[in-house]
């Protein structure tokens, strides 16, 4: 059953990355030619013995040279063919898998799991790195072994049948028994490997936590307990590895024993059949060489099939990603947003993650063009989800979000993303310069435009003060600058897109006060004169807005101006009281 699944999976992959199988038949043919290199030795041995050494007329040196010369030419041709085949296969594999990687990468970016299930990101990265690498390794090593092995076995059997079918039958029967034995043994072995993997995972986890948890280990004096856990898991891993190694040793040695047994039988049966049955001395000696050409590849083949399963698992994981439907798709016949500042209407919206309760329910609201709205609420009340729905980073399970009067799921992405800006809480920066990070919002922006954008937000002095101004490298994930500074760049990035609707998840990094002032001023400029929705954590932000949306347990429970809401004595009033009590003296 899993074989069928693997085959279907392979067909799908070949469909996505046709380069994988481009010119495959020619490659296989070349591999077969390459394998003749192995077969040539027994054939030459037979020829030389039967027609020269044992020729009653004596050795004909010229004939020997001819035979040797032809054989050498065959070897050279075969070597060229093998090299060519190998390179062709590698090119096909590398090209096809690069395509598959890019396709998977692109698809992942279309899904919302990257920003919704943050903790799975590491696993998703593995889809485009290690899973692809597994397949690559298989194609270049296991796959080559498979192809060479198969053609070697076929050629060897062909030559044997040509020489003496009775002896060929004997060898093939012997090898078949061996195949069954190895296949059975391989199952045991692969179960043992599974156990090893579990033990390895345990040991790695124990070592990992000893190092990453070092501070806790030391603070609680748990060094001995930690070390003994590490030692225990390492020993368990060792035991399992050793056990599996012993099994492998038996499997490996069985190849030799079988080769010996088959060789012995061929000699016995060969001389018993005798010259009367057409078994010549040269033929029989050639068989002794041929047996060795069969047993090794057979063993390799069985092992490779096991590897193929691993590569198959990688393929299936990739297909799982590719098969995941885009949950927030770009509409097919999408429309452009109308010009001007955008209004937002939320109609009966409900949202839930696939596994879980409603995060938002029964949300109805309208935000007029140019209005400045603050969204407040307790932890888990659904504020951030609301922001993501308005920007169509998520789609509601029920109801509708309208931006500029158009249902959000009918707006072309190209229009939506250009006109609606979302500034996430964590200002994410790419590992490049400040300027390039801003340019991420507007790819064709000139350096002058970028400087002007910083000036517009009152950040000109700040950016000039960086070591290399806008050309300062921010490092991996913006690690060279502080959290507050990352936010400044993110705000400038939003500003340069000149959005008509701005959704801002307020990040209040309690950094140094000077930066704090700049952040506030920049946000003020950014939100001024355009429709804005700010997920607010500061009392001051809420107070300064035109209208406040109060969320509680996934519902929009209150809305209105600051003063009115405080007077109403509801959720906002108590939030406000909390704020006030913890800030005032």
């Amino acid at each position: 059953m899993s074989d069928i699944a693997t085959r279907t999976a392979l067909r799908r992959v070949f469909g996505i990355a046709p380069a994988l199988v481009k010119g495959l038949w020619l490659t296989l043919g070349l591999f077969t030619i390459g394998t003749t290199m192995q077969i040539i030795v027994p054939v030459v041995v037979q020829q030389v013995i039967d027609y020269e050494v044992l020729d009653p007329d004596g050795v004909d040196i010229e004939g020997v040279l001819w035979r040797g010369g032809i054989a050498l030419i065959v070897v050279v041709v075969a070597a060229f063919a093998a090299k060519l085949a190998f390179v062709r296969l590698a090119i096909a594999a590398a090209t096809g898998l690069s395509d598959l990687r890019v396709a998977t990468f692109r698809h992942l970016h279309r899904l919302s799991m990257l920003h919704v299930q943050g903790e799975r990101r590491g696993a998703l990265v593995a889809r485009v790195t290690s899973d692809i690498a597994t397949i690559q390794d298989f194609m270049e090593w296991g796959g080559v072994g498979l192809v060479i092995g198969i053609s070697q076995v076929l050629l060897a059997v062909g030559v044997m049948v040509f020489y003496r079918w009775q002896l060929a039958l004997l060898v093939v029967l012997g090898v078949l028994i061996y195949v069954l034995l190895v296949a059975w043994f391989q199952k045991i072995l692969s179960r043992a490997h599974d156990k090893v993997r579990l033990r390895v995972a345990d040991a790695l986890a124990a070592m990992g936590e000893a190092i990453s948890g070092l501070e806790a280990v030391r603070a609680f004096g748990a060094e001995d307990a930690t070390l003994s856990k590490v030692s225990k898991t390492l020993d368990a891993q060792f035991e399992e590895e050793f056990r599996t190694g012993r099994l492998g040793a038996f499997l490996f040695s069985s190849a030799e024993v079988f080769a010996g047994a088959i060789t012995a039988s061929v000699v016995g049966v060969g001389v018993w059949l005798g010259a009367a049955e057409g078994v010549t001395a040269g033929t029989l000696v050639a068989f002794l060489f041929l047996v060795n050409l069969l047993v090794d590849p057979v063993q390799l083949l069985v092992e490779t099939l096991d590897q193929a399963q691993t590569a198959g698992a990688g393929i299936r994981r990739i297909l799982d990603v590719l098969d995941t439907e885009v949950d927030v798709p770009d509409p097919v016949d999408g429309v452009d947003l109308p010009p001007g500042r955008l209004e937002v209407a939320i109609e009966g919206v409900r949202f839930r993650y696939p596994t879980g309760d409603d995060v938002l329910s029964e949300v109805d609201a309208h935000i007029g063009a140019g209005a400045r709205v603050a969204v407040v609420g307790e932890t888990g009340s659904g504020k951030t989800t609301f922001a993501k729905l308005v920007t169509r980073l998520l789609d509601p399970a029920e109801g509708r979000v309208r931006v500029g009067g158009v249902s959000a799921d009918e707006i072309k992405f190209s229009s939506l993303r250009r006109r609606v800006a979302f500034v996430p809480q964590e200002g994410f920066l790419f590992d490049t310069t400040v300027a390039n990070n801003v340019r991420y919002g507007k790819p064709d922006a000139s350096d002058a435009e970028i400087l002007a954008a910083f000036d517009d937000l009152g950040l000109g002095d700040w950016v000039q003060g960086l070591p290399n101004g806008v050309d300062t490298e921010v490092g991996e994930r913006g690690g060279n600058v502080s959290a507050g500074e990352r936010q400044l760049v993110a705000l400038t990035r939003a500003w340069i897109t000149d959005p008509d609707l701005l959704v801002l998840d307020e990040a209040t990094s309690a950094v140094d006060p000077a930066l704090e002032v700049q952040l506030r001023r920049a946000i003020e400029r950014l939100t001024g004169g355009r429709t804005s929705i700010t997920v607010a954590h500061r009392l001051s932000t809420a107070e300064a807005s035109d209208e406040i949306f109060v969320f509680d347990a996934g519902r929009l429970v209150e809305r209105g101006g600051h003063a009115a809401l405080v007077d109403a004595g509801g959720v906002y009033a108590s939030l406000h009281a909390d704020w006030a009590s913890s800030t005032s003296t």
Binding site: G245, A421, F430
Partner: protein
């Protein structure tokens, strides 16, 4: 060329030294494995001789000379079978012993690495990346010991080479010379080819790392990518990186395929030439036909073992590279120094004093300077200060996670550095803001190697206001936590960590922002509970929330690495304008964390 030779020489010298060290630790295992390999090598030679004899004395006379068969076949069949069995036994012996050797050495090396690192100072860890350290333990330790698997085989192959040389030369000098020169050429080409290919292969690994880094960055920034509609741009970036990797792989494969073709066709060519020369020698009466078959058969069986020698030389340089990275860690001598003082756990708080304490994570940058304090036993002290003022540092110094550069910190008059290893934590418990959960169940995470009974664990959980959510976990206190266990929210993690500290009934309890992810109402409940429980502890708490700060008997206000003021809340409000401003800033920071928590919870 000469440069390459030079580096091969260095690799060989240091590689052999490294391998020698590994082997000395387990002499017997290697001896067994090598014996197995030599038995295998011998049996290959014997097999060739047997095949030669069988051809000359059985096959040719019977099939060509028309001699009667009789029972002559029995000896031949038995001889071939016996040699194969012997060969098989040799393989089993070698692989079993070599496996033991490799896996045992790997486990030993990893253990040494962890044991060594557990004793090093945090100041050293601070300069390393955890990812790199883990990579050394995982990847490099494996790489450093991997050589032990093929090494015995290579030893056997070398023996085989010597015996073959001897036998072939004995049979016929000319054929011997021919065979040997071809073999030597093969090995030399193989060694150079392997080196060159694998050096290029390392470049491929680097490119692979770049592709992986790009994917990580792009996925981490998914929200930014998506909200700016730059998916296509990101895809293009990935396409370029991925195609770069593709091209690198193709370049390496071309070189690899070239060498492979040469090295695989050479032995075959050798055999053919040997056959031709052999026939000529038979013709002149210098060689028997059985001998020719022996030589041919032997060389055909040699191909793989000979190639093994080249691989092992490569493995050796790989192994050496791994070992050098392992060694860099094992050579670090920055150990935490311990005295011999034993802890005296007691049901009473301990007084904590600091005298002219100064500290910096790097020498040029002082975080704390000239800090003195005197906390009487049993008091609750709140440490308050702006980000970067040194509060967390101070808290960590109190737990002796770091040592001050100058000055002394003492617990009931005993210098922290005088305590023996693992003794200080019996009196002092430190709870960090980032709570680390171990791969263990709830009880194990709270007891953490200590001998606390389950009742004590439950009491501690109750005090940490963790009992309710623990009860709701799938298996209660037996629920598996940690990386591969149930996911807990930040606040829940912090409460487990708090219980971990409380179960020890420490004489000094240090809470470094340890309840920051807990809802403020729960935090108040925790802190009130601690007060009510009348814990026999001196408590030092680094906190942001006004409500927590208010619970302290006394507040220490840090600014720029110095104690600016200390006293009660009201006293500080009156005397320190900076203090009031700070509390305002704290409130805003708190709001941010609330939001982060909300996001985290929305995900789970």
């Amino acid at each position: 060329m000469s440069e390459q030779m030079e580096s091969i020489r260095v690799v060989l010298r240091e590689g052999f030294a490294h391998v020698g060290r590994l082997l000395r630790a387990h002499k017997w295992a290697f001896t067994l494995a090598a014996s197995g390999a030599i038995a295998f090598a011998t049996s290959i030679v014997v097999a060739a001789v047997v095949i030669g004899r069988v051809s000359e004395e059985l096959i040719i006379p019977v099939l060509d000379g028309g001699e009667p068969l009789e029972n002559r076949w029995i000896g031949a069949v038995l001889a071939i079978g016996a040699v194969a069995l012997f060969k098989g036994l040799g393989i089993i012996l070698r692989r079993t012993a070599a496996g033991w050797l490799q896996f045992r050495s790997q486990a030993d090396m990893r253990y040494r690495l962890i044991a060594h690192q557990l004793g090093l100072k945090l100041s050293w860890f601070n300069r390393q990346s955890t990812g790199d350290l883990l990579a050394v333990t995982e990847t490099d330790a494996r790489q450093a010991t991997f050589i032990l698997a093929p090494l015995p085989f290579a030893t056997g192959a070398t023996v085989l080479l010597v015996i073959t040389t001897a036998i072939v030369t004995m049979i016929d000098v000319w054929m011997g010379l021919l065979a040997i020169s071809f073999l030597v050429v093969t090995i030399v080409i193989d060694v150079f080819g392997t080196r060159r290919v694998f050096a290029d292969f390392e470049k491929v690994q680097q490119t692979r790392g770049k592709v992986s880094g790009l994917a990580h960055e792009s996925f981490d920034g998914a929200l930014t990518v998506k909200s700016l509609g730059r998916e296509d741009y990101e895809t293009e970036r990935m396409r370029q990186a991925s195609d770069g990797l593709r091209d690198d792989i193709i370049v390496v494969t071309r070189i690899w395929a070239f060498y492979r073709a040469i090295v695989e066709s050479l032995p075959t060519a050798t055999i053919i030439v040997l056959l031709v020369v052999g026939v000529v020698r038979i013709n002149s009466g210098d060689l028997g036909s059985g001998d020719l078959i022996t030589v041919t058969y032997l060389v055909s069986l040699l191909t793989w073992p000979i190639r093994m020698i080249a691989f092992v030389l490569w493995d050796m340089s790989e192994s050496l590279a791994g070992w050098r990275r392992v060694e860099r860690i094992l050579e670090v001598g920055e150990f935490v120094e311990h005295g011999s003082l034993m802890a005296t756990p007691a049901d009473s708080g301990a007084a904590v004093a600091g005298d002219e304490v100064a500290f910096g994570y790097v020498p040029e940058e002082r975080i704390l300077s000239d800090v003195r304090w005197d906390i009487p036993a049993g008091r609750t002290i709140a440490v308050v200060g702006a980000t970067g003022s040194g509060k967390s540092t101070l808290a960590m110094l109190l737990a002796r996670l770091w040592d001050p550069d100058t000055g002394e910190i003492s617990l009931d008059g005993r210098d922290l550095r005088a305590f023996a290893r693992s003794e200080l934590p019996r009196e002092v418990a430190f709870v960090a803001q980032e709570s680390f959960l171990f791969d263990d169940d709830v009880t194990g995470n709270i007891a953490l190697g200590g001998k606390s009974g389950s009742e004590a664990v439950q009491t501690a959980a109750r005090l940490a206001v963790a009992d309710e959510f623990i009860a709701e976990l799938p298996h209660g206190f037996e629920t598996q936590l940690g990386e591969r266990g149930t996911t807990l929210s930040g606040g829940q993690r912090q409460r487990i960590a708090l219980a971990r500290a409380l179960v020890r009934r420490p004489r000094l309890l240090i809470l470094d922002d340890a309840t920051s992810s807990v809802d403020s109402s729960v935090e108040t409940e925790i802190l009130r509970g601690l007060k009510r429980a009348d814990l026999p502890s001196t408590v030092v708490i680094v906190a942001h929330r006004r409500s927590s700060i208010m619970l302290a008997d006394e507040i220490v206000f840090l600014a720029d690495g110095r104690i600016r003021a200390h006293g009660t809340h009201d006293e500080l409000l009156a005397a320190e304008p900076g203090y009031a401003r700070l509390l305002e800033a704290y409130e805003e920071d708190l709001a941010r964390r609330d939001e982060e928590r909300q996001q985290a919870e929305a995900v789970t």
